[in-house]
């Protein structure tokens, strides 16, 4: 028999992936932010300027960045900032953010829920409650519908 019948690798191909009817994502070539600067954030945290650290880390979040490593690094930074707040300061900090930043914060809160550490979920729940009071269910819907994940 001819050689090409030896390999059965073709049976492993998922034909549906290559169907023409599939929705193809538009590849935007827009520049995406590369994530917050870790040293800056740590400096702000140690000098007790937590609200500023929060604003900085949310403004520079690598939304839409295709590099997962960058996004994971930012996530751990954001969680550090969120957990460094005392419960009583959270309300004040959230009030200072504008609505777009609150949407980004809500996205990070849900990402934080996905990787529970000791005590982190309790603190995140307080954050969730405060952001929800201002941004309502709409911000949670946006966590689910926005394609550019954090």
């Amino acid at each position: 028999m001819s050689k090409n019948t030896n390999s059965s690798a073709f049976r492993q191909i998922d034909v549906d992936k290559y169907s023409e009817d599939n929705y193809k994502e538009e590849l935007d070539n827009e520049p995406v932010p590369a994530g917050p600067n870790e040293n800056e954030i740590v400096a702000l945290l140690t000098s007790n300027r937590q609200t500023e650290a929060l604003k900085n880390v949310l403004a520079n979040s690598p939304i839409g960045n295709r590099n997962q490593v960058v996004k994971d690094a930012s996530l751990s930074l954001v969680l550090r900032v969120l957990l460094s707040f005392k419960t009583s300061q959270i309300d004040e900090a959230v009030k200072q953010l504008d609505s777009e930043t609150r949407d980004v914060l809500m996205k990070y809160i849900y990402r934080g829920f996905e990787v529970p550490n000791e005590g982190s979920s309790a603190q995140l729940l307080v954050w969730h409650e405060k952001v929800f009071a201002l941004s309502g269910v709409g911000s949670i819907v946006r966590v689910l519908t926005d394609k550019k994940k954090v």
């Binding site: 929705y23 839409g64 269910v137 709409g138 946006r142 519908t145 926005d146 394609k147």
Partner: protein
């Protein structure tokens, strides 16, 4: 003020009023279209006819006010045009759409000589009547639609069409049919209006997401408004350099939006109550208020204690059950909002919902009652 009409328990997927607002055609989430005639004043209704030709769920109905024709489209990939004969019976004509997926929405053009059908086949059909062969011809708009079309709306010039889709974009196309109409004059949307030409494209969200649920041209055609599943309301202004104003809401997503004046919109959806939005002088979108006052859950002291123990016993709940009572007129999501009455400026809006209710909201009496709405 507001009149509530109940038509059974089945959700009403879509509805449309006749030109004289005496009859309403709607589909109770089935393959039938019911036409009810109002028996003068109040909320009495007579079932006049059932239009029963579709094989699958009816997804869109539109009643042309001037020519008195109804067009219906359905998941069975067909559309029918219904004309009322002299004997009072509705005669149907099949429109061959040549799509291989469900039809999702249908609208007559302002002159009622053509209609647009959106479908899951990533195609918009523009259908017009060819008298030579006595049939409805369907032309396709395909590029660059990438996913299901959920909503269509015509520009007042009878040529431009706004299309919203699940590929997260709103597009304005030209649906100019040279066989039946003369060349349209240039508008703010552009000069080149050959059939299928895309005049403008808008992304629903800078973060890329949210299906577009409903799209609507303003009465002068310069602005197009849409609602998306990311709980936002957007207005694009062609007269102002295609600027898009977006308002992100703190509510559940809205499903349908209409203009009620050059600066106000009414939208409704998963929140069970229609909401008014105003465009301020500086071009910003603001939420003006709900068309219904939020009623506080009534709780007399003695009854709530008894209710609490009753609920604990029967339902296993430890609160007074306030969270389970619905305080709005609609008890389920509002599927469609339509306007009616009045010359130029609509007098009322009607909403149909998943609770089988059709509610007519009288705008002028609501405006005087709730002055903050600023309609």
């Amino acid at each position: 003020m507001t009149t509530v009409h109940r038509f059974g328990t089945a959700p009403i997927t879509c509805h449309s009023w006749s030109g004289d607002s005496k009859r309403v055609a709607f589909s109770p989430n089935s393959k039938d279209v019911n036409i009810y005639e109002s028996t003068g004043g109040g909320s009495g209704w007579n079932l006049e006819t059932k239009l029963d030709k579709h094989d699958l769920r009816v997804t869109g109905i539109d009643w042309a006010p001037k020519t008195n024709r109804i067009v219906t489209c359905s998941s069975d990939r067909n559309a029918y045009v219904w004309v009322k004969g002299v004997d009072g019976n509705w005669k149907h004509t099949l429109v061959v759409l040549r799509i291989n997926r469900a039809a999702t929405c249908v609208r007559w053009s302002p002159e009622e000589n053509k209609f647009a059908v959106g479908s899951g086949a990533k195609i918009v059909n523009i259908c017009y009547y060819d008298s030579e062969y006595d049939w409805w011809v369907a032309k396709h708009i395909k590029k660059p639609l990438k996913s299901t079309v959920t909503t269509v709306d015509w520009h007042p010039n009878n040529v431009l069409l706004a299309v919203g889709s699940t590929d997260f974009k709103v597009r304005v196309y030209s649906a100019y049919i040279k066989e039946i109409e003369g060349k349209p004059s240039t508008t703010e949307w552009g000069a080149k209006m050959s059939f299928g030409n895309m005049m403008a494209e808008f992304n629903n969200s800078p973060n890329g997401g949210g299906w577009v649920h409903s799209v609507s041209f303003s009465a002068d055609g310069a602005k197009v408004a849409w609602v998306g599943h990311d709980s936002s309301v957007n207005v694009a202004d062609a007269g102002n350099g295609m600027k898009v104003t977006k308002l992100s809401l703190s509510l559940l997503p809205l499903l349908s939006i209409v203009w009620i004046s050059p600066t106000s919109l009414v939208a409704a959806g998963h929140n069970y109550v229609p909401i008014v939005f105003n465009i301020t002088g500086s071009g910003d979108l603001v939420e003006a208020g709900k068309l219904e006052e939020t009623k506080k859950a009534s709780s007399g002291t003695t009854s709530s204690a008894m209710k609490m123990f009753q609920n604990m016993d029967i339902l296993g709940q430890s609160d007074s059950g306030a969270g389970t009572t619905i305080n709005t007129i609609h008890a389920n999501q509002i599927n469609e909002v339509r306007t009616g009455g009045g010359q130029g400026k609509p007098d009322w809006v009607s909403t149909c919902g998943g609770d089988g209710r059709l509610v007519v909201w009288n705008l002028s009496s609501l405006a005087s009652k709730m002055k903050h709405l600023n309609i």
